[in-house]
């Protein structure tokens, strides 16, 4: 027993001290006018976190003395942390509510919300009334809305999610009247459920659905009221259901934070936004609320 203790301690110390860092070191030839330094902490939505991590990496290459730490925990946590100062910037996958008006919103992208069914489902599209009747359990079978005879397995989102709120608002549904068979939290959960159940219907982020369809997952995005659901139609404004992806700050954010936010809103990161299957916004930045 005693023989192992020194071994464990030594290896622990070594691991702590060595920190073999191979973090990207850019040239010392000062890129960018001013070299920002210090540390920025962002917390919040796990939907936006992967995108922000990539944007942050690019930003860090321009400012080698700056470190940006991205943490998750959900939109609610991001907003709460920003308010009390634990985070410099909060990531929110929805717009701020009236009781959150002490904070400032900076939109960086948009994300459509579309209906999905299994690939093999022959239904061509749904109207708003049909969607409402499915989710309120008035229509129980696909043949009632123009499809083949099969039970409908209704997949719904958990309360508080932005996709749910966009969905409810679009169809003016009261959540207490919705009858679901499965309730999910993350978009991927909904997608995997629909992919594994031939008669299922659900609604997810259009970007995530497109990414998975591209990767061969057996689902389809359904046109709503005749309008196709795709990042293109969301971008052009044709498709009605979408939610904003925002960075949130408190009243007087540090200059580093504002620089980073401006970078996130610049056209220089549109490729990153697209490769994460979101929709870049082309109007001018800083929608202060």
């Amino acid at each position: 027993m005693r023989r192992f203790l020194p071994l464990v301690l030594v290896s622990f110390l070594l691991a702590t001290l060595c920190g073999c860092s191979d973090a990207p070191q850019s040239d010392v030839s000062g890129k960018g006018e001013s070299n920002l330094s210090g540390k920025l902490t962002l917390t919040g939505s796990s939907t936006i976190a992967p995108l922000i991590t990539e944007i942050a990496r690019r930003f860090e290459e321009l400012h080698p003395d700056l470190r940006i730490d991205v943490q998750t925990g959900g939109t609610g946590k991001g907003i709460a942390d920003t308010r009390i100062g634990v985070a410099d910037i909060g990531m929110a996958s929805r717009s701020l509510k009236p009781d959150e008006s002490d904070l400032i919103t900076h939109q960086i992208a948009a994300d459509g919300v579309g209906l999905i069914v299994h690939e093999s489902n022959p239904i061509e599209g749904l109207t708003a009334e049909q969607v409402i009747s499915i989710y309120l359990n008035q229509a129980n079978n696909w043949n009632e809305v123009g499809g083949d005879k099969d039970e409908i397995t209704v997949v719904h989102k958990a309360e508080g999610r932005a996709t749910l709120e966009v969905f409810l608002k679009q169809f003016s549904i009261d959540n207490t009247r919705v009858k679901a068979d499965v309730i999910v939290g993350e978009n991927e959960h909904a997608i995997k459920t629909v992919a594994g159940t031939k008669n299922a219907i659900g609604y997810v982020s259009i970007g995530t659905a497109e990414a998975d369809i591209q990767a061969g997952v057996p689902i389809r995005l359904l046109p709503l009221d005749g309008i196709e659901a795709s990042t293109a139609t969301v971008s052009s404004g044709e498709f009605p259901m979408s939610r904003p992806l925002n960075l949130i700050t408190a009243d007087e954010p540090p200059q580093t934070a504002m620089e980073f936010i401006r970078f996130c809103q610049s056209t220089g990161v549109h490729d990153l936004i697209r490769s994460n299957f979101f929709v870049p916004i082309t109007s001018e930045p800083d929608v202060a609320q």
């Binding site: 027993m1 005693r2 023989r3 192992f4 464990v8 290896s11 622990f12 691991a15 702590t16 001290l17 920190g19 073999c20 860092s21 191979d22 973090a23 990207p24 902490t41 796990s46 939907t47 976190a49 992967p50 995108l51 991590t53 990539e54 730490d69 991205v70 943490q71 998750t72 925990g73 634990v86 993350e186 991927e188 959960h189 970007g207 995530t208 497109e210 990414a211 998975d212 591209q214 990767a215 490769s275 994460n276 299957f277």
Partner: protein, 299 residues
């Protein structure tokens, strides 16, 4: 390594007994096969979906494109550091606590019962509550911030119940003759403990530690709020760093198109588990202990 396959048991004396023997044998073999088959199923599922993505560069390189390309080098390092912190906090604390419960405090005293009760309740705390608690206590109150240290300390708390209980069980399973012999030789309490009892209990102790490490490796929710999400190479235990399980979760459930990489990371995790198992067995062998608990617990 003896087990009772070496003891000649009697043969059934009546047809009733014979059926019982037969039925019991079938049930036991069936149960054991179910356990082994299910694990094989899961491991095969992971491997088929993920093994093709693994290469040496994958194991060393930095994370890129939210994990969809590049490697998982920093993630592996963070995971190892988190495990080390967990071990460093939980093993001494649990061993001392278990010794207290078995040797110091009366076995059925009010104090011992209270301690066991609180440990049992502790093991029922949901992992997400551990994460939130760790977030408030370690990162904010103790000021450690999102760091590997916070994560390791939180996990240390999480594995305390199972580690203390298995250590307690291991110590109690040492035959009382050992202690009598030590007392007859005039050894002090602490010498008996460290030179006689603990070595005899070593294989069972090791089994408990391995299970706890497995549990720590498997934990996700608690780490998201403490060790954090950062995929950069950590420079010390005070840096935030995501563990392998957090990485798997992110790729599987958050990052669009991250599925195959999630399975690849899961393969690496299974690999790490195998390494830990193997290393523990090797260490035990090298130190001269038996590798598995067996009857009599004699060296």
């Amino acid at each position: 390594m003896t087990n009772t396959s070496s003891i000649k048991t009697g043969s059934p004396r009546s047809s009733g007994h014979r059926t019982r023997e037969y039925a019991a044998g079938i049930f036991i073999w069936f149960a054991a096969s179910v356990v082994m088959a299910i694990l094989a199923w899961i491991v095969v599922d992971i491997t088929v979906r993920g093994l093709s993505q693994i290469s040496l560069s994958y194991l060393i390189n930095n994370v890129a494109d939210a994990g969809r390309s590049g490697g998982i080098g920093p993630v592996i390092l963070s995971t190892i550091l988190i495990l080390l912190v967990t071990l460093a906090t939980a093993v001494p604390l649990s061993m001392a606590s278990a010794i207290a419960l078995t040797e110091q405090v009366g076995h059925d005293s009010l104090l011992a019962r209270y301690i066991r009760l609180s440990l049992d309740v502790l093991s029922g705390v949901p992992s997400i509550v551990f994460g939130l608690f760790g977030n408030v206590f370690f990162t904010i109150t103790l000021g450690l911030g999102y760091s590997i240290l916070s994560g390791g300390l939180t996990l240390g708390c999480m594995v305390l119940p199972i580690l203390i209980r298995t250590t307690e069980q291991a110590i109690n399973s040492v035959p009382v003759e050992h202690r009598h012999a030590a007392a007859a030789l005039g050894l002090s309490r602490s010498t008996t403990l460290f030179r006689v009892v603990l070595p005899a209990a070593a294989p069972a102790l090791a089994a408990g530690i391995v299970i706890s490490m497995g549990r720590a490796l498997a934990e996700t929710a608690a780490l998201i709020f403490t060790a954090g999400y950062v995929a950069r190479t950590p420079e010390s235990v005070f840096d935030s760093g995501r563990s392998l399980s957090v990485h798997i979760y992110d790729l599987a459930m958050n990052v669009p198109g991250g599925g195959p990489r999630a399975y690849a990371a899961a393969c690496v995790l299974v690999g790490m588990l195998l390494v830990i198992n193997g290393a523990t067995a090797l260490l035990l062998k090298v130190a001269g202990f038996r590798i598995a608990p067996h009857f009599g617990a004699r060296r």
